[in-house]
């Protein structure tokens, strides 16, 4: 029992280090242009929130490594809490970029916002808009899962596939626009997104294979 407590602790520490500590470190070490406190704070919150999104892959059924240590119920509770938090942060994400404009000279913030979301020449903006919409769907369907009337298994696939699409598009968006990222942070995002996606894909392949095996029997 003590052993398991210790392992639990190590798990939480390593999760915190990987998805909170590391991005903070990379942000602190990165050669970012000097910006105001507010802008830096927004950048850091954005980085952490996105990092936590990537961490969600590891706080789910995909992560078999910890299933003997943690009660799955607790893992899912954490997954949900983080999920609603980051959806909240990223709901505001498009507006946060123009927020500092309210405190400084420059174009009208609303005009800037409209200009930004209508610049369709930009891949980054389009990816962002798609990712933002996907995220809203993911958040809302998670919130109202029970009212959707699909089976839990069906919902899991739905949630997994949408999340996979979201993470790929969102990571691409962050790397393409690169306001809050540099090469190391981009690499960190890509690696974590790839790992998480592979875990998810593996889960589906494995469970499908199991299903096939049972079917044969």
């Amino acid at each position: 029992m003590i052993m398991i407590d210790l392992l639990k602790k190590y798990n939480y520490i390593s999760f915190t280090l990987a998805f909170i500590g590391l991005p903070i470190l990379l942000f602190a070490l990165g050669d970012f242009p000097p910006r105001t406190f507010l802008k830096n704070a927004i950048s850091l919150v954005t980085l952490l929130a996105f990092s936590l999104i990537l961490g969600q892959f590891f706080l789910s059924r995909t992560n078999n490594l910890t299933k003997n240590i943690h009660k799955f119920k607790n893992v899912i509770a954490l997954h949900k809490a983080i999920g609603y938090f980051v959806v909240g942060v990223f709901f505001l994400h498009p507006f946060l970029i123009i927020l500092p404009r309210y405190f400084e000279a420059g174009p009208d913030p609303l005009d800037s916002f409209i200009k930004m979301i209508t610049t369709f020449e930009s891949l980054g903006v389009i990816l962002g808009l798609i990712a933002w919409s996907l995220m809203l769907i993911i958040g809302l369907t998670a919130l109202f899962r029970e009212k959707l009337g699909i089976s839990y298994k069906g919902w899991r696939v739905f949630h997994g596939v949408l999340s996979l699409a979201f993470v790929i598009i969102a990571t691409w968006h962050s790397v393409d626009l690169g306001r809050h990222t540099n090469i190391t942070i981009s690499l960190f995002f890509i690696i974590m997104a790839t790992l998480g996606s592979l875990l998810l894909v593996k889960l589906y392949i494995v469970s499908n294979k199991k299903k096939e095996l049972t079917d044969v029997k």
Binding site: E104, A105, P107, D108
Partner: protein, 579 residues
């Protein structure tokens, strides 16, 4: 790269024999190679041509250009605006934050008294007709600007776009006009230039042209005029117009550290919303700071000069007694064009924070240099050609900056008057015919720098020119020997280097034409300064430090004589030039 690597101290400078040798030393500052092959980045055979036509063509998109376009449209003319930059975001307009509004109901001074006081401060150098217009019409223009939202944002593009879009006035941005077209009778017939974004030469036939091209300088460091190179004056001069006011000097100070940091030098003022100013007549020299630097710099160790208030310097430019105390580095107040750092500004440690004179080298006082007007209606000596704002040598406040915020207001007022005249004139004219031959000749002239296989880069010529004319002992603290020496160098650039100026793309083509204009402007400034053997307002001759009211109650006009040489004439104060 440290700025110090590139400065040459005056002591070092004068250490050379004569001063002639040192010009060469400064010229060598430029890191651009001198004569070298032109590696083209555009296909010169694929440069297209576009032809447009309009009643009134407005060149320039600052405050004067805005009013010129709007008011000519409202007077019933078909208008088009063409600009090297962007509406409300190029030239000096974006950086001017104070606009004078004379409210007869509130001001203690009557308009007559206002004009008289300005004339006393300007020592007669102002043209009273234009001084009066400023007071008469400024309030009406300010109210129009207010309705367009001008006072709601520190950035002017949106407010300027509103009346333009409401009237659907065509606006061509990022096209540099280099040449004016002339009809057979000598009247203006349009303009030609090239696009920065497309490989294209643009010809615009017009019944009338209003130049709102602003003033210019030698792309000085620390003042936001590196896109202003007297384009309007030079293209008008080239077709025979008279140019005035070249001997005056703007003396805005800059910072000793990061001298080229325009934004920093203005201490956040660019981020402020504009506001109005009331009557406040000064004698803002600026050039007195240059004198203090010059006079004390020789006797103390090298380095940026002290503030004038810290060092008492004898002699120097004359400020009329009535205006003493208001001169020198002006107080902050609600001034639109703050000429010194505010007292509460965060200064870097050490004396390096001292303001140093002459960050606006090559620029004259607002509205004092440009096309010579032949009447109070902004008409130039060329038929059909009008100018407004800093492109017009209206001498609205003379050879000295007298009324805070008058620059923006004057541009708005003059833009309106020029527009009304140009619209009226264009109704009497048919669209001028221009031969394809003339167009082809000018097109070849415009594109010549691109077609050279080898030559001097515009940057190298510009940097060489800067080394010759920017140091404060040339055009700020003037004396015969130095003016002659500098002129010899500038003439050399004109004769032996400009004919070989090259450009590898459309951006460099712009630099090339700007450089050509700056070199001609430098010749004008040096020659006019040599001619005016007295000191008055912002023109200070160390060898003629006194006012000479007997000989110099006059402006200097510059024009091309029949042989194509630069010619000069005096025009007595209070008279109009002849067309």
């Amino acid at each position: 790269m440290s700025n110090n690597d590139n400065k040459v101290s005056r002591r070092e400078f004068l250490g050379f024999t004569g001063g002639i040798l040192s010009f060469a030393a400064i010229s060598a500052l430029g890191k651009e190679a001198h004569f070298e092959q032109n590696i083209l980045k555009v296909d010169t055979n694929k440069i297209s041509s576009e032809e447009l036509s309009v009643d009134v063509l407005v060149v320039g998109s600052g405050m004067a250009g805005l009013f010129a376009a709007i008011k000519a449209h409202d007077a019933g003319a078909k208008v088009m605006m063409v600009s090297k930059g962007r509406l409300g975001s190029s030239g000096q307009t974006p950086f001017a934050k104070g606009i004078f509004s004379y409210d007869a109901a509130k001001e203690k001074l009557s308009i007559d008294e206002f004009v008289a006081t300005v004339s006393r401060s300007a020592l007669g150098t102002n043209n009273e007709a234009y001084t009066r217009q400023l007071a008469e019409y400024s309030k009406a223009r300010v109210e129009e600007l207010r309705a367009w939202g001008f006072f709601d944002s520190p950035l002017y593009n949106a407010a300027f776009s509103k009346p333009m879009q409401e009237r659907e006035i065509p606006l061509i941005e990022r096209v540099m006009i280099t040449n004016l077209l002339q009809a057979e009778d000598g009247s203006v017939a349009g303009a030609m230039g090239f696009s920065l974004d497309e490989e294209k030469v643009v010809t615009i036939r017009a019944k009338s042209v209003i130049l709102c091209t602003g003033a210019g300088g030698f792309k000085p460091n620390g003042f936001p005029i590196c896109d202003l190179t007297h384009d309007g004056s030079i293209m008008a001069y080239n077709i025979g117009a008279k140019i005035t006011g070249k001997e005056w000097n703007d003396g805005h100070p800059g910072s000793a550290t990061n001298a080229a940091d325009t934004f920093g030098n203005w201490h956040g003022m660019f981020e402020e919303k504009p506001s109005t100013t009331t009557v406040q007549i000064n004698h803002h020299l600026g050039v007195d700071l240059n004198y203090a630097a010059y006079a004390s710099g020789n006797s103390i160790k090298m380095g940026p000069p002290q503030l004038m208030s810290e060092t008492t310097v004898a002699g120097g430019p004359y400020t009329p007694e009535e205006f003493q105390g208001a001169g020198g580095p002006p107080q902050e107040s609600e001034e639109g064009e703050r000429k010194g750092p505010p007292k509460d500004a965060k200064r870097p440690p050490g004396m390096s924070a001292s303001p140093v004179g002459g960050s606006s080298a090559g620029l004259a006082i607002h509205k004092s240099e440009g096309l010579t007007p032949i009447n109070d209606r902004c008409e130039s000596t060329i038929k059909g050609l009008y100018a407004a704002g800093d492109a017009l040598g209206s001498h609205m406040s003379g050879g000295i900056y007298t009324q805070i915020g008058s620059s923006l207001a004057g541009s708005a007022v003059q833009g309106t008057i020029a527009a009304e005249e140009a619209a009226k004139y264009s109704k009497t004219r048919a669209l001028p015919e221009i031969s394809q031959e003339q167009i082809a000749t000018i097109k070849a002239e415009i594109l010549a720098p691109l077609k050279r296989e080898a030559g001097y880069s515009p940057r190298w010529i510009t940097q060489t020119l800067q080394g010759i004319v920017i140091p404060n002992f040339v055009l700020y603290i003037k004396k015969e020997r130095m003016l002659q020496a500098a002129l010899a160098y500038v003439d050399e650039l004109q004769e032996s280097h400009i004919p070989y100026i090259k450009a590898s793309d459309m951006h460099e083509l712009r630099l090339a034409h700007e450089t050509i204009n700056m070199v001609i402007s430098a010749q004008m400034k040096l020659r006019a300064s040599l001619m005016r053997k007295e000191s008055r307002c912002s023109h200070f001759r160390l060898d003629y430090p006194e006012l000479d009211n007997k000989n110099w109650q006059a402006w200097i006009n510059i024009y091309k004589d029949k042989s194509g040489a630069m010619a000069f004439e005096k025009q007595p104060f209070g008279t109009w030039a002849k067309a």
